[in-house]
Amino acid sequence: MTQDLRPPWDEDPDDLYEHAPCGYLTTLPDGTIVRVNQTFLSWTGYTRGELVGHRRFRDLLTSGGRIYHETHYAPLLRMQDEVHELAFDLVCSDGRQLPTLVNSVLARAESGQPRAIRTTVFNATERRQYERELLLARQIAEDSERRVRVLQQVVADLAAAPTEAEVAEAMVRAPEAAFGAASSSIYLIDDERDIIYAVASTDPTTGNWDDMARSSERAVARVADRGDLHVVGSVTEAREHFPDLVESMRRSGRSTVVLLPLTTGPTDELAGPQTLGVLAFSFKGERRLTDGELRVVRLLGQQAGQALDRARLYDELRRRQERSKFLAETTRSLDELHRLLPRTRRVVDRVVPEIADWAEVRLHVGTTPVVEDAGGPRPDEELLTQRLGKVAASGEPVFAADGDQLDCSVLPLTARGLVLGTLALRMAPDRRGAAAERAFLIELADRAGLALENARLYEQERQIARTLQRSLLAGDLPSGDTRFAVETHYQAATHDLEVGGDWFDAFLITQDKLAVVVGDVVGRGIEAATTMGQLRSAVRALACNASGPAQLIEGLDRFVERVESARMATVAYVEIDLTDGEVAYSCAGHLPPLLQEPAGSPEYLMQARSAPLGSKAGDKNRTEQRRRLPAGSRLLLYTDGLIERRTRPIDKGFELLAREYARRRDAPLQGLAATLADTLVGRDHSDDVCMLCLTLGTEERIERTIGADRMQIALLRADLRAWLVAHEVESGCRDAVLLACSEAVANAIEHGYRDDPFGMIDVVATVTTDAVEVRVTDRGTWRGAVSDVARGRGLQLIRESMDQVLFDRSDGTTVTMRRRRGAE
């Protein structure tokens, strides 16, 4: 009661000591405890008897504390006589450790000798707890910051990733860096094929990388379907919810798996977020993710989803651009070629390998189908034939479907409503299926169909024009009359896209009057060929009534008024009186004929020139020129393709032609035109060449010079034969002369020149009423006479077939041979 009456600040000093809110210890300078209060005993669980006189303060410390006591506490106390707030863990009687803060004061005797140490001990359990929490909080903050840094980097990478592959690459490393995951992998959804496929993984040795159907029971497919984050905390949980994970978790030692759908994020309210893929990552131990981490994981899923969405749009845009570029280039590239086969070839060459690994175009035109293919391997022939038939019959495309054994798309090539053929192709593996690709293929087939149909029409027209031209040019020319011989040559431009309008004709107006004509109709193609035919007929019809070349050209002028396409055509027209060798000629805008008389230089016939047919501005006063030509004269009519060259002035062309013509004055008529064309225009020429060469009369004496070329023997023989026929030499004698002459020339080629093509051989033949004489001369070096059995047979033939043979080997070799006429 009395105690109750005492005011609260009036305390009993003993009680205060014993039950103060801190522990008190008094020790001797060596640390031996001499006095201790109840608070200390309660905290540590010791009894007073256990401590006083038996223990030193340092005996109550942990081993770390004892070292600290030695190194800090004791020296400090000795130096300063007091220490403050030193942290020690006391070992309690039951072994617990009690965190404390200790203050001590050293009391000294008057002599200054240490007498006792007074120590207060504060319980620091709460404070330590607080400090630990503080530390943990800092760690969490640091983790979070690191995560944020990782995520920021990922988000930056994602923003810069233009393709799905790069998005996946940026994503797949994030879980390791951000959450310390052991490995992670990314799966994407292919809407078109309705499957989910793995694209990237940091540890390809784990997991199952097969494509899976979206409806699959596998965990990845389920999560993609639900669109929610799933954390599989343990193998047990996996067994319960996603049995397919158990095996791979066991095998790779994973205990926690996180399955994160990658979503487009909230779009419009109706559609909701769309799942584009799944990020799966796993941990070795069982790992609980905090709410904060889960929030971050979800965020990551959204970021990745958006990046994927963006990449898909980019991808789509890029493909669309590529496709339209491809189509435009295809059209342009097909336009470069006019003919059907090259165009067909180009279609498959465009398609393979750019969009398909195998392609075939099959066109049902003409009697045998046109088939071009490229790439490989060829698909199963039987299945392909079936599909081709189906498409050709229905006119509808059939696309390769999933699990399609044939794996080829077949599209009809149509034009103007007709199925022209088919385009079959097997798409490159990365381009299969998509709806956009189908539209693209249809467009491609449409363009190819149209281009091929145009080429087919072109081909058809070209064929008709060709046939027409051929029938006109290769028609019967007069022959068998010894008073003249005609040689013609036509060669189309090398890159002959269309037939030209060059033409020639030769015909007998009466038994003794020959007409030869060469002309050039403006334009090309079927119309030019038709016009040429009409003009040719007109010339033949007019020639019978006209009294000469001038009148005939005037007639053609009138004709052109009715046949507009013949206007501005050029014509060189010559009439020959076979009885006396008089020629009459007229040129309407055409190049002048080239005349070579037996003696002298070649000469262009420059008279009787006027404007092209139907010309409105030119000189249409048609005139003609007459002159008598000696037997053996040669007249060449030609079109501009022979002498006109973009690279040289036309004068040069005239000069060159005259020179080459003169050089060949003694060449056999046969093959002369072709040889001239070869020399003047070569094989690569851009214009048609049309030539007509006329030889008049029969030479009394035939002189020919040929190169030492085996091919020339037949040409020479043809001339010689014609000459012998013209002179009515009997067949037995004729055959003998031809044989002997051929053998002599062959000897010169084989033995005189040893096939040196620059060697020249002169052949001169004369005929009288009772004999034929032939002289063959070469300037080669005769090689060892008749040791060669084969040549021996040749010489034997010469001797046997001729009556007299003379060899002169003084300068080269001259063989002079004579055969009597009449006798067999």
Binding site: A714, D735, L739, L797
Partner: protein
């Protein structure tokens, strides 16, 4: 396209202008035509040898040959000799007159392998 009248040299590969192959009864029939000379005889020879390698009997028809020179005779001589060596019966069919007959006669070609018509030639070698 190119076409010309007359004797433009004909490139190799157009040998069928001069030589064609068929069978006559159980014999291989080689038909020659046109002018056979130094320029084309070697090519024609090669084509014939290639063709008759497996033949048992051979008939060579020269009735439409309009010219035959010593190179042609050399070719025929080699062919006949080779066929004889292998015991393969053979005949050359040549008209009674004409350029080919003349050349062969002038060379004194073996008369026993010459015949004037195809049926007779075939009959001769079938026995």
């Amino acid at each position: 396209m190119e076409f010309t009248r007359g004797g433009r040299p004909v490139p190799m590969g157009q040998l069928d202008r001069w030589v064609t192959f068929s069978t006559f009864g159980d014999a291989e029939l080689v038909s020659l035509t046109g002018e056979i000379d130094l320029a084309n005889a070697p090519e024609i020879g090669r084509a014939i040898v290639e063709r008759i390698e497996t033949a048992g009997k051979v008939l060579i028809d020269l009735t439409t040959v309009s010219f035959l020179d010593s190179a042609g005779v050399r070719l025929l001589d080699a062919l006949v000799g080779d066929l004889n060596d292998h015991g393969k019966p053979t005949r050359l069919v040549v008209g009674r007159t004409g350029a080919a007959r003349m050349t062969l006669q002038l060379c004194a070609f073996r008369e026993d392998v010459l015949a004037t018509d195809l049926d007779r030639a075939a009959a001769e070698i079938s026995s």
